[in-house]
């Protein structure tokens, strides 16, 4: 196993990614998606991953979610190695929302609870309560094909929140939303995160979103994805984008990402 020398896992790390790599074998050759990534996420943290398209962000999230096993290295959650999905502790909002087309919005939100054997009345109550703040109250009985792209993504968010797992993996959850809804949804998520003390790993391409929401931003390099830099953000919310501190952080973040995006574009 490659990766950094093992350190004792401290209590302040909830998730620990240790030197993970992944190579996909495809018909047109092997693709090195990520190489030797290590990252520790503290409990209650809002950790954002940002990086050029194809650098392995989704792959990294799938490893934490136990859906993809790393070729080298490992992922630990509370010191236990991840070997498969752990729905009690990890819930995922996928990049492709992946709603079940034969289920209504509210039935989709209920899915995780249903799998866990929660009774019909209870799970309907939980799901219905979530639909309100997601702006979907009037769409509870609609099927995914009757919803807009942004609404579908919000249903997927509801489905992940309904199971009440400590760790929330969110892969570009607001990618299909318009700018205004995006800001509102970000505020709503921030509120949920702070109230429920969840730990969030969040993938986005939006600098603004990263700066407005995260405790920490992890910048990844172009493929094969490695960690390029980690930027700590100030603690207070709401973030005042015009403040000197954030203007400086924004410039720094942009310069880090700019190089990698250029590299990723030059390659393809």
């Amino acid at each position: 196993m490659s990766g950094p020398p093992a350190r004792p896992v401290s209590a302040v790390e909830l998730i620990r990614i240790e030197g993970v790599s992944k190579r996909y074998e495809t018909a047109s050759g092997a693709v090195d998606a990520i190489r030797d990534v290590s990252l520790a996420v503290r409990p209650g943290e809002f950790c954002t991953i940002i990086g050029p398209s194809g650098c392995g962000k989704s792959t990294l999230l799938s490893m934490v979610g136990g859906l993809v096993s790393p070729d080298t290295g490992r992922v630990l959650i509370e010191t236990r190695p991840v070997t498969g999905p752990d729905p009690k502790r990890v819930a995922t909002v996928f990049q492709d929302p992946g709603l079940f087309p034969w289920r209504t919005a509210v039935e989709n939100v209920e899915f995780g609870l249903e799998v866990q054997g929660v009774g019909g009345k209870r799970r309907r109550a939980v799901a219905t309560e979530l639909l309100g703040p997601l702006g979907l109250r009037r769409f509870a009985e609609k099927y995914p094909r009757e919803l807009s792209g942004g609404m579908r993504q919000r249903v997927a968010i509801g489905r992940a929140l309904a199971v009440d797992a400590q760790i929330l993996l969110m892969d570009e959850p607001f990618g299909a939303l318009d700018e205004q809804t995006r800001v509102l949804m970000g505020e709503w998520l921030l509120d949920i995160w702070r109230r429920t003390r969840r730990t969030v790993i969040f993938v986005t391409h939006s600098l603004h979103e990263a700066l407005a929401l995260s405790s920490r931003v992890v910048v990844m390099t172009a493929r094969p994805g490695r960690i390029k830099s980690v930027i700590e953000l100030p603690q207070g919310y709401p973030r005042l984008m015009e403040s000197a501190e954030l203007v400086t952080l924004r410039a720094k973040l942009w310069s880090e990402i700019r190089d990698e995006s250029l590299r990723a574009m030059g390659e393809s």
Binding site: P85, T92, F94, G98, P101, W102, F111, G112, V115
Partner: protein, 248 residues
């Protein structure tokens, strides 16, 4: 004009043309409606064939059993080949090759194996109905969205749960089509089997009337058989439509 009216007009037109054609030609061969309808009346009042209900019941029973076996066998084989990679690779091509053989070639050997009674008709109905069900299961499994399987697994779904909550609903659309085609073919298998050689059932009555050149009775029997077929397909299409509305 509404659809019922259009249909009625077409029906009347066809009957009129039929009547004219039959009168111009040989009324014994081209049985006109004016002869077929009274024959149908006689048949339904159990005058020409008093034991019609028994024959009809036997044919219906054969269809039910043949179709039941075709569904059970088709689902079993389809899921075994579709979900088990090695089995699928080993037997999939054989299945496709068998399907390409016109099924009627098997019928003489089925009669040898199962005799002239119901068993050989059931076997033939099963044989015809089995393939569409199996192939629909295989096609349906390929159609299941793998991302949805991943999503379900991430929420802790076991293999069984993935099967019932993702695979089955995801393939229902295709599966229903296969089940309906299977029913139509099982019905055809049973009736063709009866016509090719039997002592009872609707096919045997049709054969009897035809052999004695009782052409009007023959047409009446065919009409009753058609009603049986159309009724079974109507039930199937109703079930299919409900399932499709659910999954579309």
């Amino acid at each position: 004009m509404n659809i019922v009216a259009i249909r009625a007009v077409i029906l009347v037109a066809i009957l009129a043309l039929w009547e004219i054609a039959a009168r111009v030609g040989n009324p014994l061969i081209y049985v006109p409606p004016s002869a077929a309808l009274p024959a149908l009346g006689e048949l339904l009042r159990l005058r020409s064939y008093p034991d019609l209900p028994e024959h009809l019941a036997l044919t219906a029973q054969e269809i039910v059993v043949a179709y039941g076996l075709a569904v059970a066998g088709g689902l079993g084989v389809g899921f075994a080949l579709g979900l088990h990679r090695v089995l699928g690779r080993a037997y999939g091509p054989i299945l496709a090759a068998l399907y390409a053989v016109p099924s009627v070639v098997w019928y003489p050997s089925l009669m040898l194996f199962f005799g002239l009674d119901a068993a050989s008709k059931i076997a033939f109905g099963f044989l015809l109905g089995f393939f569409p069900v199996t192939l629909a299961v295989l096609a349906g499994i390929r159609q299941v969205n793998t991302h949805l399987v991943t999503v379900a697994r991430s929420f802790g779904a076991s293999s069984t749960t993935v099967f019932t909550k993702v695979m089955v609903p995801g393939m229902l659309f295709t599966l229903m089509g296969g089940l309906r085609t299977g029913l139509a073919l099982a019905v055809i298998g049973v009736i063709v089997g009866e016509i090719l050689g039997s002592k009872s059932g609707m096919g045997s009555l049709i054969n009897h009337a035809y052999g004695l050149f009782r052409t009007a009775d023959y047409v009446a029997l065919v009409i009753v058989t058609l009603v049986l077929i159309v009724a079974s397909d109507a039930v199937a299409s109703l079930v299919e439509r409900r399932a499709r509305r659910w999954t579309a």
